[in-house]
Amino acid sequence: MARIPSHISAPPISAAERYFQRLSSPSGLPYGDANLKHFNHPHRVGRSPERRRVVARATALLLALVSSGSARAIAAPMVPGFERFHSAADADPAANGRVLLTELNCTSCHAPADAQHAALEAKQAPILNEVAQRVRPGYLRKFLADPQATKPGATMPDMFAGLPAAEKEERIEAIVQFLAASGTVAEEMFDRGRAQKGEKKFHEIGCIACHNPRLEGAAELPNSVPLVGIEKKYSIPSLAKFLGDPLAVRPSGRMPQLPLSGDDARNLAHFLGAGANVQMLKNARYRYYEGDWSQLPDFDKLKPVKEGECTAMDLSVSPNDDQFGVVYESFFIAPKQGRYQFWLHSDDGSRLVIDGERVVDNDDIHGPATKDGAIELAAGPHEVRIEFFEAAGGVELRGEFQGPGIARQSLVGALSLTREPIERPDPSGDAPFRPNPKLFDVGRKLFVSSGCAQCHVHQGVKESAGDGDAKLRPLAELAQGSLTAGCLGEKQRPGVPAFDLNQAQRASLVAAIKQAAKADLVLAAGDQVVQTMTTLNCYACHERDNRGGVPQERNELFTGTQKEMGDEGRIPPRLTGVGAKLTHAWLEKIPADGADDRPYMNVAMPKFGKQNTGHLAGLWEQLDTLPAVEPVEFDVATRQVKAAGRLLVGDKAFGCIKCHQFAGHKSTGVQSLEMTAMHQRLRRDWFHQYLLNPQAFRPGTRMPAAWPEGKSPLKKVLDGQAATQIESIWDYLADGGKAALPEGLIGGAIELVPEERPIIYRNFIEGLSPRGIAVGYPKQVNLAFDADRFHLALVWSGKFIDASRHWQGRGQGPQRPLGELPVHLAQGAPLAQLESLEANWPAEAAKEQGYRFLGYRLTSAGLPIFRYRWRDLEIEDFPQPQVDGASHRIDRLLTISAGDAPPANVYFRAAAAKKVEKLAERQYRIDDDWRLAIESKQEPIIARGGELLVPLVFEGGKATITQRIEW
């Protein structure tokens, strides 16, 4: 039995509350198991009968409670900025209450005084113009009936609290009719591959700054914005659309826009479980076959093992994992005439046939692979046939399509068992939504009269949201009335919104309301900044003036691609003093549009929208100041000043480019902030002072102080003074992307050229173990010996090797040889004792077989003779290059010393290839590519077609073999 997650982190809650919260959690998967059996998502494993019974009982109980109207859910609204800070020792209750005034939309009804308007503007509730396409009607119904029970932590109040149950239900039904009548929610089938990608994105890009992580065993973190019920509320396409542009629906930026591609948004929607409970009806006939094929067979000539109806492409119809085939037949209902493109993704082969025409051919044995094809279709039904076979290994089958004005989407949802489109029940568990035009107008009027329009915008009503309600007291006058009744009361009478406020929230609201009684009270700049950064939850990621920042419990969820940058590479920057650091344009741009200035950070800076953050730039500038740095005057030409700046940035001086990217070029160490953007991003005063003492601005930064104690170590650049040198860098960077590239940024090749004597290059060589030894001989013959696997791995002609990968920067990863394409020689240990020639060559790693590298000695001409030991045998392996015209040859002399008792049946394997062809006495052609000649006491033997074994014959304790490799 899997754990049942609830994804919420409201204030301390009782067992009963927890129970209700869990009711709203995803309830497992209705799809065919075959499509899901490899997807180990923790939230989708609870499918046992017990689980279902629990859910059924709980649902019944909940419905009973809701419909009786006698029970209220117990969770309180979750405003992360309030919950995180309200209980701090130095917290100002009025400031905390102000956060609630906007986040709970109090000021939508209770208009703030003019002076306070800017600071206390209510957040815009979701715009409901397209709610019919976005939110499932069944969810709307439940949510309106009891927001807190449906989504614990909801900030929307119950607008019908205290009404008799029947009346409440009637009103809600009418409003749902009004909201849901103008469209339908598009559905799409769950795709575990996408969900896995979405899972990664969710935990990397920053969702977890505000929401709870959704990993197996993840703790429920405080101050998480709840996602409970998201899978019932949205379908995959509708959630993907919302995630792609949340500001279109929620313009107040509390859910900011992350930089997501269309694919990213869809993957996230799949991951978040949207549409997980879409009941995919049986929409295909299948025939199931068993057999061992390497291509799709002609299924019509075979006898099926079984047949029946299923969801199209559901592989759970097969009881086997290997050696089977399925044909699905169904109808594709083209919504309109036009050209349609189809994709089939499968492992192994598959094919899509529409109206007898092969549209996609993805045949043969292969790993997961996608093929596509297109066809012109008339509107209406078309016969579809999908063929699939699986030989062995992985099993996958998915289809997608796109058409005229129809975005790429899952094919399964568009297929039908008959020529008629299928009718889908509402996945939120309710009966299908049936429009009732009689209720539409009633609903529209109720939408206004119940107060919905006070906060929400809908194109069907003229009354605009958020101007305050003339019938209600303005904010400044609220304190004159009772502060324990109405919205603030324990219970609400009919017509009063029920927010389910907890005690702390009530107390803070009261403090804020009392403060707001001074209608002319204007918030100080600092308070305004705190208010905005709290309501937008900037503090979830950023610290400013010792408030906020990534909390300890979320710290490890913030990751980066440059581990060695430490916290600077993964934790968003502190914003203390930011107003004196960034230019005005940047202060405006980053919160408004999002940013990617720190690409090494996985968490993205999202877009909050200028309407929500535009005022911050000016406030920050007003609050954060630095002493001005006087101008620096040069009496050399600007060109020379910039040249000095360029010198200082390059590897001959301060080497900024060892860590900073420059004009898109990678640095040689960690990949820190792009230098050519600095002039645009930063203020000159800050730049000067930061460079002199980075630690004062960013405690713990890895950015070094290049002018320790304000002194330059480079006395000869300009006048040797810190100020002039910093100014020269500033001037140099003013050229931005057009700046001349600094020295050392682009390393040239370091070609090693053997002239008189061989060059030995020990490093990471492509195709070898990390203990590779490459040798370049004069006259362009080269080899690489593997000192961990004990074979001559590569020989090649032409240029030897480029050492720049390893000799510039830190030197990560293997280098491939220069020159001609290398010949790959026999892999595996060179010698083995075989009981018979039929025995397999030992496959274990040479070291496990007892091989030990002893090193090498150099001849007087500098040629290496490699030495290694195996059992009691000591081997000298002496390759000698021979150049004769265009042909390249290495004569490899092997001397094997055995001591007193040489072993029997020991062979040297001279080749292990696909094909060994004997050309003449002791001469062979290998793989039609290179040639081999053997000098040995005993004739070599071709074993298993591709191996050439040379028996070792010891004389006086020694055996010698010469292997001539020619290519």
């Binding site: 002493p627 040069f634 001086a653 160490g669 104690e709 304000g710 002194k711 090193g855 001849t859 007087s860």
Partner: protein, 499 residues
Amino acid sequence: MKYRAMGNRLFALGAFVAALVTLAWVASARADDTQPTEDDYYRYLTLPIPEGVVLEVGAIELLPDQKLAVASRRGEIWIVENAFTATPEKDAKFTRFAHGLHEVLGLAYRNGWLYVTQRCDVSRIKDSDGDGRADVFEVVADGWEISNDYHEYAFGSNFDKDGRIWVVLCLTGSFSSNVPYRGWCVRVGEEGEFLPTASGIRSPGGIGMNAEGEVFFTDNQGPWNGSCSLKHLTVGSFQGHPGGNRWYDLTDAIGPQPQEPQSGSRIVVEAKKIPEYMPPPVIFPYDKMGKSASGIACDTTGGKFGPFENQLFVGDQSHSTVMRVFLEKVKGRYQGACFMHKQGGGSGNLAFRMAPDGSLFVGGTNRGWGSRGNKPFALERLVWTGKTPFEIHEMRALPDGFELTFTDEVDAATAGDVKSYAMTTYTYIFQSSYGSPEVDHTTPTISAAEVGADRRSVRLKIDGLQEGHVHELHAAGLRSQSGLPLLHKEAYYTLNVIP
């Protein structure tokens, strides 16, 4: 060239700026020319690496006949002659002895062989035919693995008193241990003996011995290392980073796997829980004392390198500095203080070797990691001018404070005045994520400063010593008998244990 000095016109100042102003602009004012500088006492002589040779120094060893062997990260070994003359910058001669080795970070000479610690193994090499070029390359031991990761460095010591080389093996990517013995110290005998010795290593920058022959290495800031530090290697010890602990499964040479430290804790707390854990004897506070601790050399020259006999000199690659370390044994374990000694290395100081004549050879490179010294590589010789700097000679912990000794007689008035000293303490979070800020700051009270009878020592009585904290001392007001301030006024004592 005309240049108008930058002023510091102060405009509206927030609290945010106040500290900066003093730090940034006051410090940039020219130093008082009348005060002695480091150059008056210790000077760098630069050895002339031949044009066209890239000698990114990874290790230095002394050979017979006043020769040096210098190994490079590019895998070459150069023999340097005439490095000990008064003008080595003109006299020194470089000859290539070997090439084709893999990032050499350890050299040790014994019985005609040069033992080379390189990425893949410890090999020994020699020139058997006398043509000046090594021609025999014998693997001594290669019992660890590598995985195409540049960070998997191997630093090798000189021979210890039992005739073994100690090799510290950096983690994979300096974070994890993907293949055997990454994150371990192993010992290698002259004839190939291979002994897993200690675990818990992260990213070493150098290895060396003190005068007693005990082995120390530097480990760098990162996971489980809040700041860079000097660590003491003993057989069976655990050095703090549990990344390589899986390899206890491969060997029973040093007993069972120790308990894992708890992330977010403090060194002092975990040291009490985990008996194998050897807390670092000296922490080099991040940025104050560098950012990349590196080579280690001990002054066993009998006074030829100045008054710091038997103290350790430790490099910092990033700041291009030489630091000085005083160690004492308290309750059976080493701990002590570090001081700045000499700044201004030509490149990123990495390899150290002390010669009996009082020359500290310093080899540098800044490939891949930047350094204050702006040359891409350098080979320098740091020598004592014969003038004794006024310095804190030793700093010893007492149950109720510290005892300082000095290289010169102190001025009793300033030395006896508690206002001449200031002390703060702090430590670092011991955690699995990268580095740590300074945390748990305290300000103890210096209640008395008692000048010793010989005027070469001062006992500071301190209320509020903090076990497990770095005690940062500023002795700005102190003067020598001739009125000089300390050449380096700061000392950082890592008080793992209060005596």
